[in-house]
């Protein structure tokens, strides 16, 4: 009994844990497909792909992505190179100095990104001036500064990853290569680098992701090359649209895709290795029998499902036209609004009649309509949008967003309301 209680609580915990982890992502992804102009899941209006189209027409976002990619590539190259050099030093340096060296090289991880950003800016500005270069020199270029600034700490991450692998390297392998006539450069290139390749790949991915999502450091160094995170932050300042949800969805989808791809590849290598171990000499001498890509490889199956789903969605998206639905919703809203207006008119009529009656009784009272309670704050109580939501076609004046979006209170983006028309 105790045991089953434990099991149930573990499951409950897991569910809560994953809800906590993935809930926001799921909700954000769903809002990317809702035609409502403000990113939200309920009320569900129409399935639409318009936000993706909008996303890819937003020059600032596209430019941000481009800058992020350029800076990410630069950071990967610089960080992995510096990380590898650091890792090689660390594993070969004098044992007495190792602890000190390690601490120094790890320190950037502990320093706040903001500090790194400011110091990068100040440092290179000083150098720039010392060299007597102008404000348009390479040393004050936003891409250069951002790559340098991010690499100061991303290189440390890379080094940690690389050291872990390097510690398992047998120096005798390099010696064997030298002994067989290789130069130091050849031994490095043909023996050590291939051994490090998986770790270098991990470090590169890590470096790219760290660079891509970085804000703290970049915000000081980007100059004229705002990255995606910078652009997003600036956008959110003026309001948020489902186009940002669409971007989030794309990122989530790509992440899932690459995670599955990686998993499938690893699993496949494992299976191949196992098969080769089992294979007899004759089999190997003849043709190696690879297991089919899918056998016992859950990740591969998922990957294919995922790919098919993606193709389906994209296919649907190109063919799908939510115009009818949106028109329906619009019509419905209009009807609702009309109905409401009728009701209000009726109410008013009644009130007027009542008042007239009262006036008739009391004589000559003032003419003023009391505001309905749910329309507080707005002069125009007949505005249909306050009743039916906020589709762009119908509203041209500010509105209060629904209470569940309180975090962005007043941050409604007027631009996004117009772009689609």
């Amino acid at each position: 009994m105790n045991n089953s209680f434990l099991r149930v609580s573990i499951w409950v915990y897991l569910v809560i844990f994953f809800l906590y982890l993935l809930g926001p992502l799921v909700i954000m992804s769903v809002t990317a497909f809702n035609s409502s102009a403000f990113p939200r899941m309920t009320p569900w209006e129409c399935l639409t792909f318009q936000w993706f189209g909008e996303l890819f027409q937003d020059q600032r976002i596209l430019n941000g992505i481009k800058n992020s990619l350029i800076i990410g590539a630069g950071t990967v190259v610089l960080s992995v190179a510096m990380g590898l050099a650091g890792a090689l030093m660390l594993t070969q340096i004098w044992p007495k100095l190792r602890a000190t060296y390690y601490t120094i090289i790890i320190a950037p991880i502990l320093i706040p990104g903001v500090v790194l950003g400011i110091s990068t800016l100040v440092f290179w500005d000083r150098i720039n001036r010392m060299l007597g270069l102008g404000a348009d020199s390479v040393l004050s270029n936003g891409i250069f500064l951002t790559v340098i600034g991010q690499s100061t700490f991303i290189a440390s991450y890379c080094m940690l990853v690389l050291v872990a692998r390097l510690q398992r390297y047998d120096v005798a392998l390099t010696e064997a290569a030298l002994d067989l006539g290789a130069t130091h450069a050849q031994a490095f290139r043909k023996i050590l680098l291939p051994f490090m390749r998986p770790a270098i790949a991990s470090a590169a991915v890590l470096a790219f992701l760290a660079s891509f999502e970085n804000y703290n450091t970049t915000t000081f160094t980007f100059g004229e090359y705002p990255t995606l995170t910078i652009e997003l932050a600036q956008k959110v300042r003026y309001g948020i649209t489902p186009a940002i949800s669409a971007l989030a969805f794309i990122i989530v989808a790509l992440t899932v895709f690459f995670a599955l791809l990686n998993e499938a590849k690893l699993k496949r290598q494992e299976l191949v290795a196992a098969a080769r171990k089992k294979a007899t000499v004759e089999e190997l001498a003849g043709k190696i029998k690879l297991p089919s890509f899918f056998a016992g490889n859950m990740a591969a199956v998922l990957l294919v499902v995922f790919a098919v789903a993606t193709i389906t969605v994209v296919g649907t998206a190109t063919a799908y036209n939510p115009g009818q639905c949106i028109a329906n919703v619009k019509e419905q809203k209009r009807l609702e609004a009309e109905q409401r207006i009728q009701e209000l008119r009726k109410q008013r009529e009644e009130q007027r009649k009542k008042r007239e009656a009262e006036e008739a009784q009391q004589g000559g009272a003032q003419q003023s309509a009391p505001k309905p309670s749910n329309n507080s704050g707005f002069g125009n109580v007949f505005a249909p949008n306050t009743l039916g939501g906020d589709t762009e076609e119908e509203s041209s004046e500010p509105e209060t967003p629904p209470s569940n979006n309180g975090g962005f209170g007043g941050a409604f983006d007027p631009n996004s309301l117009q772009t689609d028309q």
Binding site: D170, L173, A176, A177, D179, L180, G181, A182, P194, R276
Partner: protein
């Protein structure tokens, strides 16, 4: 080339800080020889090999290969190939790529490499295994791949660092013969390192016995076994029974020592010590287990030992008798099994006899750890 390239160590010292790993080694290795360094673990064998292959610079002295001083010449420029203690096969390369790595360095084409790899794989009796990874081979197979990889570089001198230590007994014995055959076929100088005296004795033309950085003796296997220079060499190479005492009398190439327990014993003075041992010196007398025979009860003299039997064992080819010896050590006697009947002597006194020429006398010194 037919005579092979020799290796000479001249007054070689190697220090790590204050620690002396190799002390004044002088060795002449003839071209084409199978030469072994034999010594217990940690005595400096690998260190010598690394100095020859170029990974370590001598603190003092010289390493000559083919008469040329190797100072300042890196491992990739020396005509040596080293087989590492742990083999150090490249784990990510296939067997054939491993074997022909030295050709890849020189820019040989893949088809040339494959061809050579196939030849070498045939030679090491692993035909058709070139496409496996080293991790997919057994220990003995990996061993042979390492040899093939070294031979592919066509070295003048092949250096082997305890290459058989990781193998099981059967394979070890098989590989001994195989290594010796390969050496004779390719005709180059082999320098072989081992702590296993059986390996050294069966394969080598000459052996250097090492103890804690010092070379005690250099000679062929028979000489080392029958005529050791030092107490260490006598006790390390093969099984030996030791008797300690002071020299009572020197009689030409023979001498008599006075032992505590077994009375006076006579033995031949080992060749290197003839003329050096004086009366009154502390000395050690060594008699091999197989050099004893059982004498009639009560026989006495300077080549008889009487002791109480503690236990006996039957080993198949020999029958072993253990008796109380000196300083808590046992005396081991091995009688060849020639079909005779063995009676149990346990608990009884037994008289053992040896021939003087089969007992060897050396100055007292450090014994090899058991």
């Amino acid at each position: 080339m037919s005579a092979g390239v020799g290796v000479d160590l001249e007054n070689l010292w190697i220090r790590f800080g204050d620690f002396v790993a190799v002390r004044d080694a002088n060795v002449n290795i003839n071209g084409g020889d199978f030469f072994s360094f034999l010594g217990p673990s940690g005595c400096g064998k690998t260190t010598i090999l690394r100095a020859v292959s170029g990974f370590l610079d001598p603190s003092e002295g010289r390493v000559l290969i083919g008469g040329n001083d190797m100072r300042g010449i890196g491992p990739n420029k020396r005509p040596t190939a080293l087989i590492f203690q742990n083999l150090a096969l490249f784990p990510l390369m296939k067997v054939w790529e491993n074997i022909t790595f030295s050709m890849e360095i020189k820019g040989a084409s893949a088809s040339q490499r494959r061809k050579r790899a196939d030849e070498l794989l045939d030679m090491i009796a692993l035909p058709g295994q070139g496409d496996k990874l080293p991790s997919e081979l057994s220990g003995g197979q990996r061993q042979r791949v390492a040899i093939a990889r070294a031979l592919c570089a066509e070295p003048d001198v092949l250096l082997l660092d305890e290459p058989l230590s990781a193998l099981d007994l059967k394979l070890r014995q098989h590989m001994r013969t195989e290594l010796r055959e390969i050496q004779q076929r390719v005709g180059i100088t082999f320098i072989y390192i081992t702590h296993d005296q059986g390996e050294a004795l069966t394969m080598s033309d000459n052996i250097a016995v090492m103890r804690a950085g010092v070379i005690d003796q250099i000679a062929d296997g028979k000489t080392i076994y029958n005529d050791p220079n030092t107490a260490f060499a006598a006790s390390f190479v093969g099984e030996n029974n030791v008797f300690r005492g002071k020299i009572k009398q020197v009689m030409g190439n023979e001498a008599m020592i006075a032992t505590n327990r077994s009375g006076d014993l006579v033995a031949r003075i080992s060749t290197a010590n003839q003329g050096k041992l004086q009366e009154g010196d502390d000395a050690m007398l060594f008699i091999r287990p197989e050099a004893f025979s059982i004498a009639a009860d009560g026989a006495t003299g300077d080549h008889f030992v009487t002791a109480r039997v503690t236990h006996e064992e039957f080993e198949g080819n020999v029958y072993n008798i253990f008796t109380e010896g000196e300083g808590g050590k046992e005396i081991k006697v091995s009688l060849p099994n020639l079909g005779q009947s063995f009676e149990d002597h346990t608990g009884q006194n037994i008289t053992l006899e040896y021939e003087t020429r089969n007992a060897v006398l050396v100055p007292a010194g450090e014994l090899a750890a058991e």
